[in-house]
Subunit: 441 residues, 2 copies
């Protein structure tokens, strides 16, 4: 392919697939607010006429019902994408992402929240996948090798300037420039620390919990997580079982998945405190900044974590301004994609709060590892008190699944965002017409 | 129809129509963030086999693109509705609305925000339309004649208890019980005060602004509103023109439609302050509770108003807790319907903040008047400093359009929520296949 051909290449299609996995059959992924999730992907493919065989793949994650509406939201963005110059889009993903976010009609459905914002995230992430593939780099490294100026250009600073200006962002990135190479080398050698939620689903028996917790420690994890919030009596027993199983040196986080009001969250955590929980995740509504601040003040030194349902950078900004969180949990598929997550990483760095991503579901581990690794290389410059969530579900459907060794995510080596699924998986689990689903009707 | 037949009646269908009006052709409705809206409705019809000819009609409002995705979000709720006993649903709309909001899979698309929450609002409102029609009352009166206990049962108190408990809500409603009849009589006689945004769209010339402002005062309005935020120089000139036109006794609100960051909002309002703006509406992101609080502190005595894009009761709760707003602007079609708006009216009453609804678009005036009238009858008990927005767009498409006289909304007399459109309008403006749209391609 000549470079002249490449320069004239266009995005020819934005395809959306409704792909669902019947995970509710085994209570994997069960928690106090999500008793029976069917992990699902509103899956996006960007195709081009470049002739280089490269496509952009990414997804919005949902838990089953509504995945069709999520797919419909993604489809509304096609007119903003189809027909674009591949080179222009991939060469200026900041402008591209803002062109989706700021559509003056589509933004009514948000603004910048819910299905339309997750749709933007999926399309923006697919564009990053394509851009990184064209550059021949995994996204974490593609980002980690950009200049501070290029990175600042990715960010939409609208509504952020009372907490973070472009100049302050540039300053953070410039301070982290020395040592990038060493940190890249360390990632390639050792990977990025992980924690596992595998032992802690609500649907599991105490025996299964203890068995899986023991296994997690043997596998090199230094932190595990339990779901809580359905029954206090059960939670006290499960927390005690977990603590007795793993000993005092392993961190045990707990996750209430938004189940409580403010005072019940405080009361419940007082009962679990004797077993030394490391953080309480999603104690209450993800929209309740002031509520999180009140919980944090009351349960300290237990840390407060949230993020997987935080709608956008404006809410993260306030959680940090209000001193409401000790741990920022970015999600690769909730906000407006890589660009908005760069903004959130910069905000967390500005406030000196560690980022420990939410993952699991389907494809979330694959995508979010790139963001933490980029954070380490070019933003925060540290892995101290930072861990990426790991759940061992559904990785077999990905062309380049995450690789875990000794409690660490190994750095992806293959170009792109790692979200591409096997064509057979996309066919088998297509909803409602794939064979996995027609066999169930 | 015998009562035995009625008792066994079921919801037989939830229909959704994508209806769009090409309003962008005339710059009606143009503001700093919505330069070219095509006012649209994702329109819901609930049908039954009761044989009484009654249907539930309501809509989610959008500004054009994305109305199809909004319709898809509404369609995901059909399995929660179709097959229900009409009597049970209409007899316990609190349980019904919570059954939609708490779907553990659909809530992933929010939770309680964006397209999926607007979908819930549309379906819940359609159920209220049907219930009020069956009761033979307009919704404002149907609500205004419920007991305090029945009203409290409508509210989802999840995440509210740090600001409002069921007992406190009951107390507010009981205190307002004396005088209900007199207030109903006053509404029937005089109506509810309105203000008008008709003069103030950004796309209008100064001459048109002055002409329409003069007309508004002649029509009995005591408050008008101007859109601002695109050009400071233009805004100063337009504000001066408006003030010179209407004199000092007419309130002039201004509306930035989220255009500014915190400090720019403060700076801009200092330039407009000499012309005595009554409130600044949506100065910044609707998600920015702390930002609104900072703006309010800086621009006082100019009031701060927001609400049309506030996602849910949890954000309203915090705006009130943080002292971030002087005026709560409920919207009939943004949150989870009548039930969540009852919660918001109760929160506003608890904090002593007046409610001045957002309206306009298509059908928003028709629906929201019921909520303000109910607030007057049974919650706040006053119309002091309270006005409902009025915009004279698209009312001709409704079977029972709002009636305005001497700057007041006249109380609807016809049973239901007033959101039902003429069948011919639904056919003509159907997107993309209605004749209005096929003629444009």
């Amino acid at each position: 392919m000549s470079s002249a051909m490449s320069a004239s290449a266009r995005i020819t299609a934005l395809e959306v697939l409704d792909v669902r996995f019947p995970t509710s059959e085994h209570l994997d992924g069960s928690d106090a607010m999500n008793p029976e999730p069917d992990y699902s992907a509103a899956y996006v493919v960007l195709r081009t006429d470049a002739g280089d065989g490269l496509e952009g793949h990414a997804l919005a994650f949902t838990t089953g019902r509504g995945n069709d509406a999520q797919a419909a939201a993604i489809a509304t963005l096609a007119p903003h994408v189809v027909g674009l110059s591949v080179e222009e889009m991939c060469g200026d993903l900041g402008t591209f992402s803002r062109s989706l976010v700021h559509d003056p009609q589509l933004r009514w459905l948000g603004p910048e929240k819910g299905a339309i914002h997750m749709a933007t995230g999926a399309v923006v992430n697919a564009a990053w996948d394509l851009a990184a593939k064209r550059a021949g780099k995994p996204v974490w490294r593609f980002l980690g090798e950009m200049s501070p100026e290029e990175l600042v250009a990715q960010v939409d600073f609208r509504w952020l300037s009372d907490a973070l200006t472009p100049e302050q962002a540039l300053d953070i990135l410039r301070k982290a420039e020395p040592g990038r190479e060493e940190r890249i080398a360390r990632l390639l050698e050792r990977g990025y620390p992980a924690y596992t939620t595998t032992p802690g689903w609500l649907g599991y028996s105490d025996e299964k919990l203890a068995h899986l917790a023991r296994e997690a420690v043997a596998d090199g994890f230094t932190q595990i997580k339990l779901k809580v919030g359905a029954s206090l009596e059960d939670d006290v027993r499960r927390m005690r079982t977990a603590r007795e199983t793993v000993g005092d040196s392993i961190r045990i986080a707990v996750d209430a998945n938004q189940r409580w009001d403010v005072q019940p969250a405080i009361d419940w955590m007082r009962e679990l405190a004797p077993y030394d929980p490391y953080w309480i995740e999603e104690p209450t509504s993800p929209d309740d900044i002031l509520g999180h601040a009140a919980v944090r003040e009351a349960v300290s030194p237990i840390k407060v974590a949230t993020g997987e349902h935080i709608a956008n950078r404006v809410v993260f900004k306030q959680l940090l301004q209000a001193g409401a969180v000790d741990v920022v949990q970015i999600d690769s598929a909730r906000v407006g994609g890589v660009n908005e997550n760069i903004a959130i990483l910069l905000l967390a760095a500005k406030f000196g709060v560690p980022v420990c991503p939410h993952a699991g579901g389907v494809g979330l581990c694959e995508m979010v590892q790139h963001l933490s690794m980029f954070d380490y290389v070019a933003v925060s410059g540290t892995v101290e008190d930072r861990v990426i969530e790991y759940v061992d579900h559904l990785h077999e459907h990905f062309v380049n699944p995450v690789r875990i060794a000794d409690g660490h995510y190994l750095a992806p080596a293959v170009p792109g965002l790692s979200a591409q699924m096997h064509p057979e998986s996309l066919k088998e689990y297509l909803y409602p017409d794939g064979p996995v689903w027609t066999a169930r009707v």
